[in-house]
Amino acid sequence: MKKLIACIAFVITVPAAAQTAAPVIPATPVEQGGLTGSVSDEKEWQDLGIAIPAFATDANKPTPANAQGTGALGVEVARVITADLRNNGLFLPVGPDALPRPSYPEIPAPNWGIWSGRNADMLVHGHVVAEGDGNLTIACHLYDVSLRQQLVSQTWRLPPADWRRGAHKCADLVYSRLSGESPFFDSKIAYIAETGPKGHRTKQLAIMDSDGANHRFITTGKATALTPRYSPDYRSIVYLSYLNGNPRIYVYDLASGSQRLVTQSTNPTFAPRWSPDGKTILYSMAVNGNTDIYSVSAQGGPSKRLTDAPGIDVGGSFSPDGRSIVFESDRSGSQQIYIMNADGSNQRRISFFGGRAATPEWSPRGDQIAFTHIAGNFRVALMDPSGGNVRHLTDSWQDEAPTWSPNGRIIQFFRTERNSGRTSLWQVDLTGRNLRRLATPVDGSDPAWGPVLP
């Protein structure tokens, strides 16, 4: 691991003066070192102790991001980074509330003596500065304490309302640099918020940041909403609504708050999915009781029918290259998982391991398919795209509908409680570790994790 760190000299220094438009958040093209595709050799970096003291500020100035000014905001930023890493079981982070506070001049030149005595392998320093134009500059530096050397640093310019994104970007920078994995914290989740008794649930479309912050209900709950999916550019959400009494797929535009039907048809449409490039929407439509999978341009226009088996063909998830689709079908007599080319050709079953298999979702890395395995209970499981190497990640009464983190390391799903019917959002990493429930204001189902924000 150390060797890897030494090999990748990845230091981005963005001169703040050169930046004009906000937000300017350059992509972090961290090359993946030898860890791609592996699931077991992460122990070494997992045990790294990381000190994350409060971010410093040049002068405590007022900012809409914090009532007490940039000084207090610096503490909050460090807390968000610490929570990101801790809640996902990554490293051994220690946050600002248990650490001395570095001064502004110490940010680019740490006081090594303080940190080497604290059993920290890594040190995160950063600053928060309120610019004259009202924007914030948030800088993040990662240091190796024993080497007394900076490993990576980056600066972002953000509108004050987006201050948490600066913290997530810093957590992503630290995580990517130390693990060799792609980032995932600066991302959002769409899901269905549920309230009310089992026989009469209210189901609303809702969104939140990857850490649960900035939660917002999108629909009122008057019409049942189900199965949302964020568009890859986060501009819209495709979802099912019983608006006007019948299940139909709508594309909801987040900026305008308006929505349109994905296809003009009197038939019920459901199970919508985006292609990775956001140009195509897959959906399922029942005609005279027979459900097949169709694709349509995200801009509208004619639909193309991809399946024509007499059974139920439903769902569908594109491979990251957009060339294949994994979907479920009961054409063999029970729900099983199939793969086809994106044009519907070459349909073939891949699940042959007993029980039923449903809700397949292709990993953003392409090497795994997450699905719901129904054999007695409902469990979230993984398999290779060939259908081999099945591994169960959960073991409860009813866990279903997996969705991948943008980097393909973590899976979220929803759990239903027996009898009460109460639902909750959960996540687990693809090694089966770090199972935890996500905090949501009310019950939740159908999580859909979007990509990392640019």
Binding site: H200, N246, P268, G289, G315, E328, T359, T372, F378, R418
Partner: protein, 166 residues
Amino acid sequence: MKRKLATSVILASAMALAACQSKAPDTLPPQPAGSTPPPESAGPIPGSQADFEAKMAGRQVIYFDTDRYNVDTRAVAALQQQAQWLMQYPNKRATIEGHADERGTRDYNLALGERRANAAKNYLVSLGVDASRLTTVSYGKERPAALGSDESAWAQNRRAVTVTID
């Protein structure tokens, strides 16, 4: 809340009935909103959803086996009664609601509910009900009738419910 509302609606309709009685005993007042059945003595208005439910006495619902959508013999008997009633009131339209139990994934259950509703619809059409009078809607596992998580509850939830439109 629902109870209270229903009670007051029944009271209101009873009072309306009493007021009308001396003048025109043969003409009933218009159905109160919400199509709550009027007091038993009067009986539901022939051809109304209340009348349909009273005549069907539970046979407005047919049930299915796990993951199945075929119409079995018990369902056939129920659908024959439904068809008879629908033929008697040829201007009535109906929606058939398809449902699944909670032990299925969401998308699949929507498709399965649609299949069940269509199986019921197709059978009614085969008995002579005009297809244009019947619509279907699937609620998947979203609207269970029985709230438990056991075989008996699931059996009650794998259903297609015919609802006539007043």
